[in-house]
């Protein structure tokens, strides 16, 4: 029986799941774009991004060349693999439930 124990707990939290999903859709997301799309507060978003960064699931890039510094985020290879595994386990859980 497949259950939530097999799920990556780091990604499983709704806020971090949303961040990982957006980062998986295209290369790079600016902090402001992530904030607008997810409707999170600055503090909440920073906390989740730090957690994902510590786990080396995401990479932060700071661009200081413009008038305002721009921080953007993207998935690392480890993060992409972890997200793919997470979605696969979710799919297996649903499939197993439909068969019973």
């Amino acid at each position: 029986m497949i259950d939530f124990d097999q799920l990556d707990k780091l990604i499983h939290e709704k806020g971090r799941l949303s961040i990982m999903t957006l980062l998986s859709t295209r290369g790079e997301w600016a902090f402001q774009d992530l904030k607008n799309e997810l409707g999170m507060s600055d503090g909440n978003l920073i906390t989740h991004l730090r957690t994902l960064g510590t786990a080396t699931y995401i990479k932060e890039t700071r661009d200081e060349s413009g008038t305002r510094p721009r921080t953007s985020y993207e998935l690392t290879a480890a993060g992409r693999k972890a997200f793919k595994n997470y979605v696969e386990v979710l799919g297996e859980i649903v499939k197993a439930a439909q068969q019973t």
């Binding site: 259950d3 939530f4 499983h12 709704k14 799941l17 949303s18 999903t21 957006l22 998986s24 859709t25 295209r26 290369g27 774009d33 607008n36 799309e37 979605v87 979710l90 799919g91 859980i93 649903v94 439930a97």
Partner: protein
């Protein structure tokens, strides 16, 4: 909430966010079809007139400019209305992150194409070069959205760039066009092939490749 319900809920979150974030179609197919048909009509008439009247121009240079600005306005307004309706249907804000990115990618090449093209027509009376620059800049603007656009839109961008370059080479090599009393007909031909034909083909390709709506899980 059971394990299965929670899994379904998380899959729903993933799907909805991916739908919102992954792809942004900056040019809607019905607007492209409308613009394409208008462009074909507007370009066919000057070409037909020149062919049947020994190369005589069907309109003045400024009339050419105003005609195409009017077509641009009609197609743009329709596009904005359709994008707004799509945003409402998806329960998204009209000015979404996707639209902001599309505008950021579109603005520089469209500004260059717009200013240089209008300048060429209004002050240098070179309609064909203006039409070629419009086609190339529009193609580059579409390619600027490649990282978040559907493949059909990226192909449209490439089609504009490649067709624009081929037409430029054909125009530059064939100096017989200098013998024409006005370059309205070659300019109209460029506009018809690019903004007319390519937009119609794009719209038809989108209509025919559209998948039936997915069945939502209960």
């Amino acid at each position: 909430m059971s394990t299965t319900e929670a899994a379904l809920e998380n899959l729903r979150i993933i799907r909805s966010l991916m739908e919102k974030a992954h792809i942004y179609r900056a040019v809607s197919a019905p607007a492209a079809l409308t613009g394409g048909v208008l462009a074909l009509i507007a370009s066919a008439w000057p070409v037909w007139h020149a062919l049947t009247n020994h190369g005589e121009a069907a309109m003045c240079d400024r009339c050419f400019l105003y005609t195409w600005l009017a077509i641009l306005a009609v197609a743009s307004v329709l596009n904005v209305v359709l994008l707004a309706r799509e945003a409402t249907r998806r329960n998204q804000p009209f000015v979404s992150a996707g639209m902001r990115m599309a505008l950021r990618a579109f603005a520089p090449p469209m500004l260059v194409g717009g200013v240089v093209g209008i300048g060429l027509i209004a002050f240098l009376h070179n309609l064909t070069l203006a039409a070629l620059i419009w086609a190339l800049c529009y193609g580059l603007a579409l390619l600027g959205t490649a990282s978040f656009s559907p493949r059909s839109l990226v192909r449209l961008g490439w089609a504009f760039v490649i067709t624009g370059l081929l037409l430029f080479v054909a125009w530059a090599v064939n100096r017989d066009v200098d013998l024409l009393s006005s370059d309205l007909s070659p300019a109209s031909l460029v506009m018809g092939i690019t903004f007319g034909l390519l937009h119609v083909v794009y719209a038809l390709a989108v209509f025919f490749s559209r998948k039936p709506a997915e069945v939502q899980p209960e």
